[in-house]
């Protein structure tokens, strides 16, 4: 059937539709490049949305838990093999995404007789200064986009995702604390879940650091952390700055 080109296109189209449908239950994740480092925020069940990949690399995702795990393991394996064979500085997001992950995702997406990988994700690499931070928005089909403005949202609906990112860009000021930045992410998270337009969203006046019945998963790729490992889980409620 799929040997005919138009049939193949149809099958791919169906597959795309199926994956988007499966992703609908997912909740958004955020990555913000801040003076302190890169803040990753998601809301889940604990260790389900935001993860450490390598010394300077983090990962936040939504989608099927098994597929998130598959991509996470693939990224960790590729990063550690590269770091062991060469050095930790040779593990870069550009190479990780370009040569290991995006091809895996694209192949999995186009192998129409095998189960698809249902994951939308953000990969982040902290640099010595905010200008050197790399944040990549990676889609389930291997397509990916390097974001240079330091604020990235991953959600199931691309239009809402853009709206949320635009709102966060407007609201987060250069000298805002991490606590404030986290609060704004959680306000945007709630708004995305409710599916409301961002034009009517007012920034929260008080700190928002909890979501009832869920666990806020946050981590900082801390620029100033001594030693090789820069990733550390953070509790938004305990940020004092």
């Amino acid at each position: 059937m799929t040997e005919e080109p138009y049939r193949w296109l149809e099958a791919i189209g169906n597959r795309r539709e199926y994956i988007r449908d499966q992703l609908k239950g997912g909740t958004p994740v955020f990555a913000l490049s801040r003076p302190e480092g890169i803040l990753l925020v998601g809301v889940g069940q604990g260790a389900s949305k935001v993860f450490e990949i390598y010394d300077r690399h983090g990962f936040a995702a939504l989608g099927h838990p098994v597929d998130i795990e598959k991509i996470r393991q693939a990224a960790i394996e590729a990063a550690h093999m590269e770091g062991f064979n060469r050095s930790a500085r040779d593990v870069t997001l550009r190479r990780l995404i370009g040569f290991a992950l995006s091809t895996t995702l694209k192949n999995a997406f186009e192998q129409i007789y095998s189960p698809p990988i249902i994951v939308e994700s953000i990969f982040a690499e902290v640099g010595d200064a905010p200008e050197e931070d790399v944040i990549v928005r990676v889609h389930f089909d291997g397509n990916h986009r390097y974001e240079s403005n330091g604020i990235v949202v991953a959600h199931t609906d691309s239009k809402q995702e853009e709206e949320a990112a635009g709102w966060l860009r407007q609201q987060i000021k250069q000298n805002d604390s991490l606590s404030r930045a986290g609060s704004l992410c959680l306000a945007a998270w709630r708004h995305l879940i409710d599916g409301k337009p961002f034009a009517e969203l007012q920034p929260p006046s008080d700190a928002v650091n909890k979501v009832n019945g869920k666990i806020v998963e946050a981590a900082l790729l801390d620029r100033k952390l001594p030693g090789p490992v820069h990733y550390r889980p953070v509790d938004l409620a305990k940020f004092n700055n």
Binding site: F51, Y54, R72, Q73, I76, H80, G83, F84, G227
Partner: protein, 253 residues
């Protein structure tokens, strides 16, 4: 006919492990050691690397951090020892990241043991002998205390109650540490950090006095050792300035 069966064996063609092989003396030209002090474990080493009677380098780091709560002090053939340390660094971090929990202390100890056992052919041939010291804390146990382990070159591990030493200069150090543990006032295990740091520097100078392969520690020339403190909070390197301060305060210099 004296009834000694073992004495009979070499007279027959019975193959015996190790006896027939011509194994050169293990190369362990260095001094590394670890001992308990009041604040945790002091683990230290000199900076000298030798090849026979040639000083290869006086700036070698032999105390290597494997992760946030474990260290290795290497003695033996550097090529193999450094590779073992690098393998362990990646092994521990890979496990922690992929399994979302730190590797247990027991598993870390076994991981090093396994590397040593895998190195058996090179050990038996005499060119790949490694005899490290490992120090670590059980990260998942809030009451876990830092522990020292030493190994034989074939991979057997032993926990050291108070101290361990490895390398050609470790004999004199172990004698001094034994003496201090038995009759010291206070014994090293009860020493505050400053005192323990000074002891570590003095021990390396003592080792260098009797072992040509140990060197590079001369407080009068502002050359100090690599000294690290392992505690529940993690690892702290004692910088040269701090070693110098401890040394001066102790010697009233």
């Amino acid at each position: 006919m004296n009834g000694d069966f073992l004495a009979l064996l070499p007279k027959t063609n019975f193959a015996q492990l190790g006896v027939a092989a011509s194994c050169p003396e293990p190369i362990q030209a260095t001094t590394v050691f670890a001992f308990h002090c009041k604040d945790g474990i002091i683990i230290a080493g000199d900076h000298r690397a030798t090849a026979g009677n040639i000083i290869f380098s006086d700036k070698t780091e032999k105390i290597l951090e494997l992760d946030s709560h474990s260290l290795i002090a290497i003695a033996g053939v550097p090529a193999t020892a450094f590779e073992m340390a690098r393998t362990l660094q990646t092994t521990f971090e890979f496990y922690r990241r992929s399994q979302l929990q730190p590797m247990s202390l027991k598993a870390k100890i076994r991981a090093l043991s396994r590397l040593l056992r895998d190195n058996l052919p090179a050990t038996l041939q005499g060119f790949g002998v490694v005899q490290p010291i490992f120090a670590g804390v059980e990260v998942g146990d809030a009451n876990g205390k830092p522990a020292i382990f030493f190994y034989d070159p074939l991979g057997a591990q032993f926990e050291a109650a108070t101290y361990a030493g490895s390398g050609s200069g470790s004999g004199s150090i172990k004698s001094v540490l034994h003496y201090l543990e038995r009759w010291g006032q206070p014994p090293p295990a009860e020493m505050p950090l400053d005192e323990a740091v000074t002891l570590a520097v003095r021990l390396l100078m003592t080792a260098a006095e009797f072992d040509a392969a140990t060197g590079g520690v001369h407080p009068d020339r502002r050359l100090f050792a690599t000294i690290k403190l392992l505690s529940r909070d993690g690892i702290r390197s004692i910088p040269m300035e701090e070693q110098e301060r401890c040394w001066r305060e102790a010697t009233h210099d």
